[in-house]
């Protein structure tokens, strides 16, 4: 370790390097920033730091200037000279780059005043976007590995487990099993060789909670795992990450390497006599491998198929040894609980769901991104206060929680507190934290069809109810969206759904019917409209809609006629155009291109 005094910088410019910001041009902007800082002789006082995501993904590339806490959105390389001149040299805010309140267009220069952050409670994500994830030194400087040191030096393994139990922490990956109890099972299981596993196989479409955490604060996961290994009596840990997360893999690998160099992994950690190593397994990207028994099979090098439980992993897991699996987010909660105490943790949240939950808030919401909120916050606060409401001023229709096998919750339940029990009662699940917001232009039958199509592909096929049941439900849903449905299909769907739910081996099959059951429960009218009226109320299902040109609004500009790929639109210049319904393939191009809102969809 270096004994020289740490370099001191007046200003840290934090540049987000998450995939969303990278895609939006963060690397070029960062390069421009570094050369401009050099050119203006500011390199001794201003430092450019690469960080993980701060979660405000819709606004990237994000730049945060500390100590002021100024947040700039959508910063391009061309904006750099102005930022350097105005903010870094002269201390003035560049207003055009600040976040603007959507309604008032008022500039909000400081990130802690942006509503997106205001209602959040970033404790697990506290370091994401604040520290350089490739630097163990920065993690240590903000208090990292203090919890591990505390656990190893002043707590017995039993005391660690008792503290985690007392905190009320439940698994953040799906079923929400109490973490401390799970650890207790693994600790008391007979055997000398035990394993722990971090599940980073995030397979939900549109979800990026685990990825952002692994990218933005990898040491928190390593620290949590090491504490867990000490509590359980394991000396080897595995992190399972899908290979399509290259940045998460890079940062985790670097973190493991650095932790070894400092003696925070390996033999005799912090002089305690405790040994622990962590290995990374790259998954090929199968949704079913998020299921714990399939995940372990994949680590062992076998096909990722689930197996019946019992025996539970705590008795017989990896290579037949007692194993404790937790989600990456669950592990990242552990250092907080040990460091700040179970009492601090359990005062956050609701009676049955303690602490915070990280959601990836996506879909038709203004501020898409990664958010961390106390358990018990309402859906309304999440979607309207933090998420900034629905895009283009449209109406909220439903929110789907818990990934593809979660349920869709309607508008009249917007005041539902978000915790494990309330979501379950509403026919959905907490899952791993996916949250997809849907607006009035979303067809709920089509949504159910879409998720079942995903699950059909991802079912491993091992057990019949899941393999065949999903396929049959999908066939019925497809028929309904094509206008061929019958009322008897609805009862048939429900019957199939309950069979798949009850008779499937693993969580994938058991939860797969949720999108069907929840849409039938809350949006039955839409199913009936598809079947009886042969109409898709949201105007989505092609077989059931018709594009027409409105006589009053059409100016006869001819744009739709020229853009129509089927040459289905005819009309003379400056006169009403008409669509030939026989030729129309309902692609919607005319609707999209019309500047006069003269194309209607029914």
């Amino acid at each position: 370790m270096s004994t020289s005094k740490a370099e001191q910088y007046r200003v840290d410019v934090l540049v987000c390097t998450c995939p969303a910001c990278t895609k939006a041009g963060a690397p070029e902007m960062e390069q421009a920033l570094k050369s401009e800082v050099g050119r203006r002789n500011l390199a001794d006082e201003v430092r450019v730091v690469e960080t993980g995501s701060r979660g405000f993904c819709s606004m990237g590339p994000i730049v945060i200037i500390q100590p002021e806490g100024i947040l700039y959105c959508q910063v391009g390389a061309a904006d750099v000279p102005e930022v350097v001149e105005e903010t870094l040299v002269k201390g003035r805010v560049v207003e055009r780059l600040t976040y603007k309140e959507p309604e008032t267009h008022k500039a909000v220069p400081y990130y802690d005043q942006i509503p997106f952050y205001g209602k959040q409670m970033r404790v697990v994500l506290r370091n994401c976007g604040l520290i350089n994830p490739m630097s163990i030194e920065e993690y240590v400087a903000v208090g990292g590995y203090q919890a591990l040191a505390k656990a190893l030096t002043v707590m017995t393994p039993e005391e660690v487990i008792a503290e985690v139990k007392k905190s009320g922490l439940r698994g953040r990956g799906g079923a929400g099993f109490p973490t401390g109890r799970k650890w207790g099972f693994a600790r008391s299981a007979p055997g000398d060789v035990k394993y722990i596993v971090a599940n980073g196989d995030e397979g939900d479409p549109g979800a990026f909670m685990d990825r952002s955490l692994m990218e933005g604060d990898p040491h928190a996961i390593l620290e949590g795992m090491t504490i867990g290994a000490y509590a359980i009596g394991a000396h080897e840990g595995h992190i399972y990450v899908r290979d399509e997360y290259p940045l998460a893999l890079r940062n985790l690998n670097a973190a493991i390497e650095q932790a070894r160099e400092y003696g925070l992994l390996g033999q005799d950690i912090l002089g305690s006599g405790f040994d622990f190593e962590i290995k990374i397994t790259r998954g090929a990207g199968a949704f079913v491998c998020g299921e714990e028994t399939a995940l372990m099979a994949s680590i062992e090098g076998r096909a990722g198929n689930p197996r019946p439980r019992p025996p539970f992993p705590a008795q017989s897991g990896l290579w037949g040894k007692p194993t404790n699996i937790n989600n990456a987010k669950t592990w990242a909660n552990i250092p907080l609980i040990i460091d700040r105490g179970a009492d601090w943790f359990s005062q956050i949240g609701t009676e049955t769901s303690k602490g915070t939950m990280i959601f990836s808030l996506v879909g038709k919401v203004n501020n898409t991104g990664l958010v961390e909120v106390p358990m018990g916050i309402t859906l309304r606060e999440l979607i309207f206060d933090i998420g900034g409401g629905i895009q283009d001023g449209k109406q909220f229709k439903a929110v789907q929680t818990g990934g593809p096998s979660g349920g869709c919750i309607p508008a009249d339940l917007l005041d539902l507190p978000v915790d494990y029990e309330h979501l379950k009662d509403a026919g959905s699940i907490m899952g791993s934290g996916g949250m997809i917001v849907m607006d009035e232009g979303t067809c709920m039958v089509d949504v159910a069809r879409y998720f079942l199509d995903f699950l059909k592909e991802e079912s491993c096929g091992k057990c019949t109810p899941c393999r065949e049941g999903i396929r049959q439900m999908l066939a019925i849903l497809t028929r309904i969206t094509e206008g061929e449905g019958e009322m008897a299909d609805l009862a048939q769907l429900e019957t199939l759904a309950h069979v798949v739910q009850d008779a499937s081996l693993c969580g994938l099959g058991q939860t797969a019917p949720n999108p069907v059951l929840s849409t039938l429960r809350y949006f039955r009218d839409e199913y009936v409209a598809h079947i009886e009226d042969k109409k898709c109320p949201a105007g989505v299902c092609r077989a059931l809609i018709e594009y027409t040109i409105l006589e009053d609004a059409c100016t006869g500009c001819g744009l739709c006629r020229r853009k129509c790929p089927q040459e289905a639109i005819s009309g003379e210049k400056k006169k009403l155009h008409v669509i030939d319904q026989e030729k129309c393939i309902k692609c919607g191009v005319c609707f999209d291109v019309c500047k006069f809102d003269a194309v209607a969809v029914r």
Partner: protein
């Protein structure tokens, strides 16, 4: 690098490293230097460098930020010191040579250098 062998090793490493992320940590003191065109032409950047060097030499935990012109251009360079809920003290016509005394008396001894004060802002 030598391995950490104990809780004490980790804590001393943490103390060493904390200065490195000072700009991102909470501090009780913020020193604000007027860095408008007027401030810069009156030598505000040199004053700021003197402040940074002095803080570094004395190992004082404080944020140094810059602000634009506040209109009192004849008194530039202006240096403000804000500590907790105390009134914000503005010093005027500051030169690098005056910086050590301000740091010594205001930040270390806790006495405002009254003869150089040009303004106080409460709240």
């Amino acid at each position: 690098m030598p391995k950490l062998k104990s809780l004490e090793d980790l804590q001393s490493l943490r103390e060493q490293l904390q200065g490195d992320i000072k700009a991102r940590a909470e501090t009780a003191t913020t020193i604000i230097v007027g860095m408008g065109t007027c401030g810069i032409s009156a030598g505000a950047r040199e004053v700021m460098h003197a402040i940074l060097a002095e803080l570094d030499a004395r190992d004082i935990d404080a944020h140094v930020t810059t602000v634009g012109c506040i209109g009192m251009c004849s008194k530039e360079p202006l240096v403000d010191i804000q500590q907790g809920d105390e009134p914000r003290i503005t010093y005027g016509n500051i030169t690098p040579a005056m910086v050590p005394r301000i740091i010594e008396e205001h930040l270390i001894q806790g006495h405002v250098v009254d003869e150089w004060v040009v303004g106080r802002v409460t709240g």
